[in-house]
């Protein structure tokens, strides 16, 4: 029962990681950009959300309604102003640009919000729990997993069924051939990053509900997103989702073995996957 409980808690934890990993998988899959500032963007959006809540007295879901469009705009702007200038066959310029952005964002956040930890008041939902088949699960983690599943499903559907999704997949397969078919790659890229950062708008609300956030916390979120994407297979949406679950379950089981071993267990599984199946569980060679 103890291990079954760990499995359930791990899957719920994976829901949080999936919300980080989706956008990262999308950006890598389409543009081969590893966005080092991904975690810092979550923290930035979290802090903005917390400020909105405390200034206007908004509840978490009102904050979400405001934050997601803001995140979409932020992502679009990020691509238009910065990333479109460095995207290309060579992955290094975009890596350096997002690394620089990460440092700049952290310092900017420190300047505005100070180093204090804050969190978003949830009006009680963060501590509610429900009983399912003999085990207690938190209402918030269940909500997180539900949103993560819906976002993954929705993104997958957009990629498979819509005109925009086809342009994204075409640009991902061969950007020059895509332009020969009339696709404006830079416009497609801007929309892709808008979606990727837009998803972080959801993640930011949940992250600041379930724990505290401080300007320097971005790095840890980046690592989890990165590991989930690698485990699942670079550039695959459901791969990133499953990768997040594997990471979450590894950590939860690790925690049961020894409370200090949880995070390390996740890293070890990540390294194991990297060693045995470097293309990831669902990646194509």
């Amino acid at each position: 029962m103890q291990w079954f409980d760990a499995l359930i808690q791990g899957i719920l934890l994976g829901g949080m990681y999936a919300q980080y990993a989706l956008g990262m998988a999308l950006m890598f899959g389409v543009m081969r950009i590893v966005n080092v500032s991904h975690g810092d963007l979550v923290i930035l959006l979290s802090l903005i959300g917390i400020s909105l809540a405390s200034n206007f007295g908004w509840g978490p879901f009102t904050v979400m309604v405001a934050l997601v469009p803001l995140a979409i705009a932020l992502g679009w702007l990020l691509q238009k102003v910065v990333l479109n200038k460095v995207v290309g066959d060579d992955p290094l310029p975009s890596l350096i640009a997002t690394f620089g952005l990460s440092i700049a964002l952290q310092n900017m956040m420190l300047q505005i919000w100070s180093a204090n930890s804050r969190s978003l008041p949830g009006g009680g939902i963060e501590s509610q729990s429900i009983q399912i088949g003999g085990i207690y699960v938190g209402l918030l983690p269940v909500l997180v997993l539900t949103f993560a599943t819906a976002l993954t499903w929705g993104l997958d559907l957009v990629l498979k069924r819509t005109r925009f999704g086809r342009s994204l997949r075409a640009a991902s397969a061969d950007v020059e051939a895509a332009s020969m078919s009339g696709i404006n790659a830079r416009a497609v890229y801007a929309s892709a990053t808008a979606i990727a950062v837009g998803i972080l708008g959801f993640a930011a609300v949940f992250q600041s509900l379930r724990s505290t956030v401080a300007p320097a916390d971005g790095g840890a979120q980046l690592i989890y997103a990165f590991e989930a994407v690698i485990i699942g297979g670079m550039g695959s949406v459901w791969g990133a989702f499953i990768g997040s679950m594997v990471l979450g379950v590894s950590q939860a089981i690790g925690f049961r073995i020894d409370p200090g071993f949880g995070v390390l267990a996740g890293h070890l599984v990540f390294l194991l996957v990297l060693a045995i199946r470097p293309q990831g569980l669902f990646g194509k060679v």
């Binding site: 005109r163 086809r166 997949r169 075409a170 397969a173 009339g182 696709i183 194509k284």
Partner: protein, 241 residues
């Protein structure tokens, strides 16, 4: 009526100059063949038209308007499409989705014309049969048909074909070249780059031979002799300008 023309077209890769002032033109419904040895600049010529090389605006004209160096997606909007060397299909996507990408964009860019999925299926029936197959699982000839279909669904006024016979069996090559008359009948101008001189001659109205980035021979395909082509192709004392 000339649709597309180049005027003193010059292109370079860094320090290496690939084209030295190339003048080629093609009229509505006409097929022009571009022949020449490897490295003569044939593909570079097509890439220059398509906005994939840095060229000056007045070096490429569409309906007399200077359009050289226009970004590739905008060239498609203006009515120029290319069947690129090596087919360049969207791997991991089905035949239908590959074609749909071009239809989506034609729709978005406001290009209309006579090509539809149904008509393409009549031209290449195998594309209907394989609609749901991922393109990497097709044979070379089938892939080439997808690539041609994708270009046609952009509703082009000028179609550029880069070595569409490369690596295909003679029977398949005949099948693909048999599609050209129907494309021309639409009024579409065609520029084919072709290694096979006989094929180039039979499929075109006029021939241009490139040698080291310069046009060394031009004339009506039916009037040009093998000797003239041999001279222009390999250079030396027989070169005819």
């Amino acid at each position: 009526m000339t649709v597309l023309s180049t005027h003193g077209l010059v292109a370079r890769y860094g320090d290496f100059q690939a084209l030295y002032g190339v003048d080629i033109d093609v009229a509505e419904g006409e097929a022009v063949a571009l022949i020449g040895a490897n490295g003569a600049g044939k593909s570079t010529f097509l890439r220059s038209i398509m906005g994939l090389m840095a060229v000056k605006p007045e070096m490429v004209r569409l309906d007399g308007q200077p359009i050289g160096g226009t970004p590739t997606d905008r060239m498609v909007q203006k009515g120029v499409a290319i069947v690129p060397e090596g087919r360049r299909l969207f791997t991991g996507m089905s035949v239908d989705d590959n074609l749909r990408v071009a239809m989506d964009q034609a729709d978005r860019l406001g290009r209309t014309g006579g090509w539809s999925l149904e008509r393409l299926h009549r031209l290449f029936p195998i594309l209907k049969e394989k609609a749901r197959t991922e393109v990497q699982n097709l044979s070379g000839g089938q892939q080439q048909m997808v690539s041609i279909g994708r270009a046609l669904l952009s509703q082009p006024r000028v179609l550029l074909c880069d070595e569409i016979s490369l690596g295909l069996a003679p029977k398949v090559i005949r099948e693909i070249y048999a599609a050209l008359p129907e494309i021309r009948a639409q009024g579409t101008a065609i520029i084919v780059v072709e290694q096979d001189v006989g094929l180039a001659q039979s499929a075109s109205d006029r021939i241009f031979c490139l040698l080291e980035g310069r046009v060394t021979l031009t004339g009506a395909s039916s009037a040009i002799t093998r000797e003239q082509i041999a001279g222009a192709y390999f250079g030396g004392s027989h070169a005819v300008v």
